[in-house]
Structure formats: structure tokens, C-alpha cells
């Protein structure tokens, strides 16, 4: 325990304050070509014609790539976990979000690359776009994804993440009142100060050196190797220095395309997204739509919860099924609710694909469940802190997915918070601990969900 409680230096602190930290944009490789992308101007459209010849013939242009240059066009970010691929590296015959990459140019400088992009001849046939996840989930809405408007590949090919616990019918029959709420947090752009940047250098050995700002270097290695259909030993990744990511640099946004351009041109290439591209085209935190109905008693017990969650994946699934799974495990928040009916769907829209961001899948459900706890307190006319303590997770309580809590900290956290805001608690709440439920805190309806932590 040399470190806990001690001040320790940041390993990169002095490099940061002296300008010596080498971010990808600071790597200097002579003869580097600059990359620009042709991106979809539409939320949803068919590509009816594309001709890149005028761009290829421009002086100063060294390589142009389209879907035809990608050895394996579709590879999912979570393919290794059995989540099927649904996203092409470069759009082939349709675009499903505004900003989706279609073709890329590597040229002597940024201006030539941008001019060449503008010379790519392309025609679109616009299609209806779904930009709201609740609307996309409506069975009457037009289908915007080839699998339908939501993900179909949870375990046993279920089309939703489902949790059933206890006896939900009993809870709603025995409630004094039902408290309902709908919660819809919006998309959030990570907006790192360093935009997505990648530099790839083709080595004489035939390997590629890939300077990446990724937060997930080994993920990115796997994704690049799969698309390129090359073994991992052909790729040398240089990473670990990220100018802000917050989850947004978990996706492999640039590395594969730069690798293809370096291979095709035989020259080092670099792609640095503009701030506008970062805002419009990079993945975001997802919008969510959450509907809660809680069966509650007059004295502040939550007997049961029904919850419907829609998670906006944007145009493709990427990490969304994983994020929704985490979300489902947390859908009772820091509280014990014995009877549950949870259904969560990963819904496709024509928004930019969504991804991880600080507390992937969980911040949304915390926002909904905490707001809902206060709403329940309002409806019942009880103290919002006391109702939290009463229902707080305790040793021996079980989570929605059946995990037995052995060291929950809800009680002490809420007590500390109450003290910090000067909220007076009655003695029995002030002295409450996380010890297993007994007496008044173990009403009949909570008996069945408790377990002996010693046996787990």
C-alpha cells in the first residue's frame, strides 16, 4: 500500500507541461500524404452511381479508395464476441447516416485532397430517414436497416435484452399506487480537443506502422487486421497517447482506411478530422428512451418495476448490444426491487452510430431511476432521502440479474450525501447500515429475493 493516500506523480505530467508529449498529429514523417473523405450529405439514401476517375487523374493525388478496395468490407466492432457485422467500412450501395464515409483520397496536401474529393462524381436517391428512436421503434415506420429497425441477436436470437425476476403481476396487484415516468436523455458528442487523427507508414518490410489516438489499441488492431485480411504481425500499432477520448475513441474510426491508402499509394498518409467532422461524423453518446412504471406502497416500498428501454444505436450496431446489457443489469439503480419486468431494445435510426461514453449504458439508467425515485417520493409525499435509504441495496440483496451484493455502499453514500447537504435524518435512518435486512426492513415481499452472501 505504498500508493493509496499518497501523492504520486503523473507519469506523463512533465512531458505534458513542456510540450514534449507526442500526439499522433505531432508525429513527423517526411513525404506524408494528407487524407480527405467523401462523406454522405444525406441521412439515408441509395448510391445510384459513383465515378472516381476525375479525382484519380488529378495531379498530386496518389490514391483513391472506395468499398471495392476493402478485402473484408463488413466487420463488426464486437464480432469477436459473436455480435454479427452490419457496417461496411466504406458505403457500398447505400448510406445510412449523414457523414458516413464513402470514398477517401490521399494527396500531396490537404487542399488537393479536398479538391479531389469534390471531383468524385456521385448520385444519390434519397430515402426516408428515422431520426427519433421511439419513432423508429413504431411498427408502422419504414424499415431503415436490413434486419428491421432493431437488433435481433441477443442470446438465443432474441430481439431484446429481457430480465424477469420475482412475480411482477403480484407486485402490481398489491400496490397502493403506480408511478410512471418517461425519460429521454439526448445524444452527447464527446468533443475531445484532439480530433480523430491517424498516421500510417508503410515499412520496407511490408508491415504497416499505425500511429493511433485510439483508446482501445488491441480492439483496433483486430478490426484493422480483419478488414485488411492480414495477420496481426503485419501491423505495428503505436498508441497510448490520446488527446481526450471519453469513450469516443473506442471505435476504430480512421486506422483501417488510412492503412488501405498507405498500402495503395505506397506512401505514408495522415488523416486529421476537422472540428466539423468531429462534431458531425464521429460517434456520440446515445439518445435513450426509457419508460418506467413502479408498483409502490403508501409507506414507500417499491414492490415491482416494469421498464421499457430503447437504446439508439444510430445507423449500425457497433457496441450498442453490450451497452444495453450493462444498462439492463443496473435498471434498479442502487435499490432493491424484488419483482422486475425489463425489456430493452437496440433500435436503429439514421443518426451517427453511437458508442461508449463515461459509464457506457449506465448513466442513462441512473438518470432515469434517480429522477424516478424523487418522483415516487413526491407522489407519496415522503422524504426523498428516506425512501432511498429504505430501499437501498444491503448485504444479501440481489441485483436484477441475480448477483448477490456482498459489500453495497448505497446506505453510507446516501447518509454522507444527506449530511453534506444538511438534510436532517431521523435516528433510525441516520444509524442504518448495510448489514443484512431484519425486522421492519425485511418485509414479506423482500424475503424471497435475499440470499446468503456466504454461499456465493
Amino acid at each position: 500500500m505504498k500508493v493509496v493516500g499518497a501523492r504520486i506523480p503523473r507519469y506523463d505530467g512533465i512531458a505534458h507541461v513542456t510540450g514534449r508529449t507526442t500526439y499522433v498529429d505531432d508525429v513527423r514523417v517526411p513525404g506524408t500524404l494528407w487524407v480527405k473523405a467523401l462523406r454522405s450529405p444525406h441521412h439515408h439514401a441509395g448510391i445510384t452511381r459513383m465515378d472516381t476517375r476525375a479525382a484519380e487523374e488529378m495531379p498530386g493525388v496518389h490514391a483513391v479508395i472506395t468499398w471495392q478496395d476493402v478485402p473484408l468490407l463488413e466487420y463488426g466492432h464486437l464480432a469477436a464476441l459473436g455480435i454479427p457485422a452490419d457496417e461496411p467500412l466504406l458505403a457500398k450501395d447505400e448510406v445510412r447516416y449523414k457523414g458516413q464515409p464513402i470514398a477517401l483520397v490521399a494527396a500531396d496536401d490537404e487542399e488537393i485532397a479536398a479538391e479531389a474529393v469534390s471531383r468524385i462524381d456521385i448520385d444519390f436517391e434519397e430515402r426516408p430517414a428515422m431520426l427519433d428512436l421511439r419513432q423508429a421503434f413504431d411498427p408502422e415506420s419504414p424499415e431503415i436497416h436490413r434486419e428491421g429497425n432493431w437488433y435481433k441477436h441477443f442470446e438465443d436470437e432474441m430481439d431484446r435484452r429481457q430480465i424477469r425476476k420475482g412475480d411482477i403481476e403480484w407486485a402490481f396487484e398489491n400496490a397502493d399506487t403506480i408511478v410512471q415516468g418517461v425519460y429521454r436523455p439526448a445524444a452527447i458528442e464527446h468533443a475531445p480537443i484532439e480530433t480523430q487523427t491517424c498516421q500510417v507508414v508503410p515499412e520496407a518490410s511490408g508491415r504497416l506502422t499505425i500511429y493511433s489516438c485510439t483508446q482501445a489499441l488491441y480492439f483496433s488492431m483486430g478490426v484493422v487486421a480483419a478488414h485488411l485480411q492480414v495477420p496481426l504481425n503485419k501491423l505495428k500499432f503505436v498508441g497510448g497517447t490520446t488527446g481526450g477520448g471519453f469513450g469516443g475513441k473506442v471505435d476504430t474510426a480512421t486506422e483501417t482506411m488510412c492503412a488501405l491508402l498507405a498500402m495503395k499509394s505506397g506512401k505514408p498518409v495522415k488523416w486529421r478530422w476537422t472540428r466539423e467532422e468531429e462534431f458531425l461524423c464521429s460517434s456520440t453518446r446515445a439518445p435513450w428512451h426509457m419508460e418506467l412504471a413502479d408498483a409502490v406502497t403508501r409507506d414507500g416500498w417499491i414492490l415491482g418495476r416494469k421498464m421499457l428501454t430503447l437504446h439508439d444505436a444510430g445507423a449500425y450496431s457497433r457496441f450498442s448490444p453490450y451497452g444495453l446489457t450493462k444498462h439492463s443489469f443496473h435498471h434498479t439503480g442502487a435499490y432493491t426491487i424484488p419483482n422486475l419486468q425489463f425489456d430493452g431494445y437496440v433500435v436503429y435510426t439514421n443518426r451517427t452510430p453511437t458508442t461508449a461514453m463515461r459509464g457506457f449504458g449506465v448513466t442513462s439508467v441512473s438518470f432515469a431511476t434517480e429522477t424516478h425515485m424523487s418522483r415516487i417520493a413526491d407522489v407519496l409525499g415522503v422524504d426523498p432521502i428516506e425512501i432511498r435509504l429504505k430501499n437501498a441495496n444491503r448485504i444479501g440483496d440481489t441485483s436484477p440479474n441475480g448477483i448477490v451484493y456482498t459489500d453495497p455502499s448505497t446506505v453510507s453514500t446516501i447518509q454522507t450525501m444527506a449530511e453534506a447537504i444538511g438534510h436532517e435524518l431521523p435516528a433510525d435512518y441516520r444509524t442504518m447500515t448495510s448489514e443484512p435486512r431484519t425486522g421492519a426492513l425485511l418485509p414479506e415481499h423482500l424475503v424471497a429475493q435475499t440470499a446468503n452472501p456466504e454461499e456465493h
Partner: protein
Amino acid sequence: MSFTVNGVTHEIEGFELTPLLDVLREELGITGAKAGCHQGGCGACTVLVDGEPKRSCLVPAGYADGASITTVEGLGAPEDLSPIQQAFVHHYAAQCGFCTSGMMLAGQSYIAHGGTDDAEAIQEALGGHVCRCTGYSKIIDAVAAAARGDSFDLTETAIGKYTTMATGGAE
């Protein structure tokens, strides 16, 4: 045209309207100023032009003709950190580090113009700088410490010493 960067005079070949940021980074290879937005919005490209903080992405190179420019590299080397650099290390005011050079140069200019440790005044001076890791309170603490003239023994507050891989590795 020519200008001085961190005490070294450079003859500049390029077009006068090329942003100073691009001349520094691409022509001179001085990369401490960062290209966060290229539109004057984030402050990461800030350098001092004759002591005044300027967004180098919005400054045409010709404007700096004859000027003396300071970038983060000119504040102090790892073995000879300036007070504001020491304060940023001590207060953990750099997280990802991408906004740090701009923040420090704005803070340096604020202090050089007689700025005090008043938190509101520091916020005003750094108002044009975005930190997305949201380390603002630590950054303000660091500028305040440097404004007060706090001194730091960076070896005593740590296990071992404040060292980096760049300066010789952990002890």
C-alpha cells in the same frame, strides 16, 4: 518575413496568409501548439506574440513578421521548469494534456500582466480555453498558485520523484 520563436529567429518562406499555427507546426516542426479546431474556438493553439496570447490558427503568419513568439517549448525544459509549469504538475492540472500548452500560456500572460490568485479573474483570463477532461478547477488552482508565487518541491510531494519517461524514468 521572419520572426523569433523561443529566442531563435526563423526566416519564413511561406505565404503571408498561412495561419501561424501551420507555419509553426508544419514548416518549423514546433508542435507544442495544438490544432484543436482551426477556427478559433478551443484555445489549444494559443501562443504568445510579443507577450500577448493569440490563437495561432487565426493569426496570419505575416502578422507575426518581426515579432517574438513564445510556445510551450519556450516556457521551460523538463529539468528547468518555469513556475507555471511546476504549478501545473503539482496541481495535476494536465490530464490528457492537449489543452495544456494553451492554458499555461494564457495563464503566463495573465500573471505577467499582474494577475492575482483571484479565481474569478483567472476564469475570465482562461475563458476562451476549452478543457474537455473538465479539469478546470485544478487548472485554476495551478494558475492561482503560480500567481501567488507558491514554490513547489516536486520531489517531496511524491513517492520517489516527479519524473517521466522523457526525463529518465521512474525512480
